[in-house]
């Protein structure tokens, strides 16, 4: 495991991915130290292009985009982080349950997985937020995104465990009479940790894009809490007069998602050599 960890850090895609993610996450965490203007500073210049002091420019509402992007990142990255944890966790639980819980549970779990896979994520999110009402809170959004992101994990975890459960040490553990939960925790979960490490950053990236698209299309979602998606939605109407109002949040989203993709690809290369190239 230590050797694997070292190999992972030396892989160029993993290193670059972590670097890009840190480049977005760290400034967001230290936002209060890095912003000289409070989030709703007034009066800043109207639609000033990027310049010293207003690094990302200002928008049509005289807000400083550097400040907004850093504080908005807290919402977006937080939502994506919760969604990634939830998606991976639910996926692992469903996958382990399907592989270990007997044929009927397996059939039901896989039917539910197929059902969820058949539904377009953004459409489900739009419909559910519609029924939730206009003031969707970040945590609700995060949970919803996480609940639309577990299916891939569940399928892969299940198919890997179908092989693992026939391995001698697992059969022996069952013969010794260990409880199912103990076997799942000691023998099944560790076997799929590499898979979860590949999927978690991938879901993180998808969740960032989903949050942004939802805020962009949704019924005023995020109007009270700044997020990158809400910033793009606010800036989309002024692209021709202040392109930087869109470029700043889009750039932040892109850097973070590229970082997450590279991290996922790199980890896959390390834990499953030969899987992709």
């Amino acid at each position: 495991m230590t050797a694997l960890r070292l190999a992972a850090l030396r892989h160029p895609a993993v290193g670059l991915g972590l670097l890009l993610l840190a480049g977005v996450v760290v400034p967001t965490l230290f936002a209060p130290l890095l912003c000289s203007h409070p989030p709703a500073a007034w009066p800043t210049p109207l639609r000033a292009p990027p310049q010293v002091g207003y690094w990302f420019g200002t928008d049509a509402a005289r807000r400083d985009l550097w400040t907004l992007t850093l504080y908005g990142g807290r919402t977006s990255l937080g939502v994506a982080g919760v969604a990634a944890l939830l998606g991976t966790g639910v996926g692992a639980a469903v996958g382990i349950g399907a592989a270990w819980g007997g044929p009927w549970f397996d059939r039901a779990a896989m039917a539910a997985t197929d059902l969820w896979l058949a539904l377009p994520r953004l459409v489900v999110l739009l419909v559910v937020t519609h029924f939730l009402g206009p003031d969707g809170r970040p945590l609700q959004i995060a949970v919803l995104i996480g609940l639309t992101a577990w299916m891939g994990v569940a399928r892969v975890v299940r198919s890997e465990l179908l092989a693992v459960r026939e391995l001698d040490h697992v059969v022996a553990a069952r013969a010794l009479g260990l409880r199912g939960a103990t076997i799942a925790r000691r023998h099944l979960l560790p076997a799929v940790v590499p898979t979860l490490l590949v999927w978690a950053p991938a879901i993180f990236g998808q969740a960032l894009l989903a949050e942004a698209a939802l805020a962009f299309l949704g019924p005023g979602a995020g109007a009270t809490t700044p997020s990158w998606g809400a910033l793009v939605a606010a800036g989309a109407g002024q692209v021709s007069s202040a392109w930087w109002a869109v470029a700043a949040p889009v750039g932040a989203i892109t850097v973070a998602v590229v970082g997450a993709h590279l991290l996922a690809d790199g980890i896959r290369d390390v834990v499953q050599p030969g899987a992709s190239s």
């Binding site: 459409v123 739009l126 793009v232 021709s240 889009v250 892109t254 992709s276």
Partner: protein, 323 residues
Amino acid sequence: MPPLPSLGRWALGRVLRAVGLVGAVLLVTWCLVEALPGDACSARLDPDLDPKAFAAIRAALGCDAPALTRLSADLARVISLDLGVSTSRHVPVRSLLAQALPASLVLGGAGLAIGQGLGWASALVQAPRRGTALDVGVGAVTVLFASVPGFALALALLHGALAFDPTWPATGTSTPWLVPTFAERLQAMLLPAVALGLGAAALDARVARSALVGALTQDHIRAARARGVGESRLLWRHAVPNALLPAVALLGLQLPALVSGAVVVETIFAWPGMGRLLVDAVHAADAPVVLGVFYAYAVVVVAGGVFADLAAVLLDPRIRLAT
């Protein structure tokens, strides 16, 4: 080895499963809406109405019937394609969908074609040169396009086109589908289709590349190369047909993502399809339209999955054994 089921038998089973899936979608959404506060009657009636009259109308509309009665009535309505009346536009949801569905299918088809075309083109450049700078460079571009939010891509195309030619019919026309000449229709469709296709292409390129690399590293390729088969013949006659299969098999799984992308693209380019219908309905809190679009999308995606599976089985009959 079990006997191979006949193609007709396999297709019948697959279609039955798809019908079951759509039925499950209907059932789950019905339960979801049922679990939420408020019902169709309280949404339709004025809350300030005299409580007695309110109760009488509720009973007449059938809102107080037992859940099972209402479920079967609602399902019977949906199956007979009666999806209710839009609360914001006051026309039957069915006729709204009948207008929007063709526009969405045309745009989605064009986006799919562009995505697969670009994706395979870049995979054909990458796979034979695996590990070279060109492979890594094209791979970096696909990662970038997979990471840029779809709406950013669409906005960039829209404003790029307008900066290049201010008269470009990109937006403002709410009915690009209804412009008179074919050439104008094509022009109106170009940017949305490219925006949709670029997002899909990034994913298609990655899938096609790894399928092609897998096909190129098989032993029979090495054997063919050893007996002097040329590289281009190796690629086109020996590798590409085998790489088609995993790519086609993934097509069905990719359709939901394409639909999600289309919602964004249709909204930005004012394309009169189902995505824009959905977004407008969400903003207007128009529940019948929201649910109608949701059902229509579910049917389209499930039907698309059946066609993708059928194509995969025609390419490789052994798949019939697996399902």
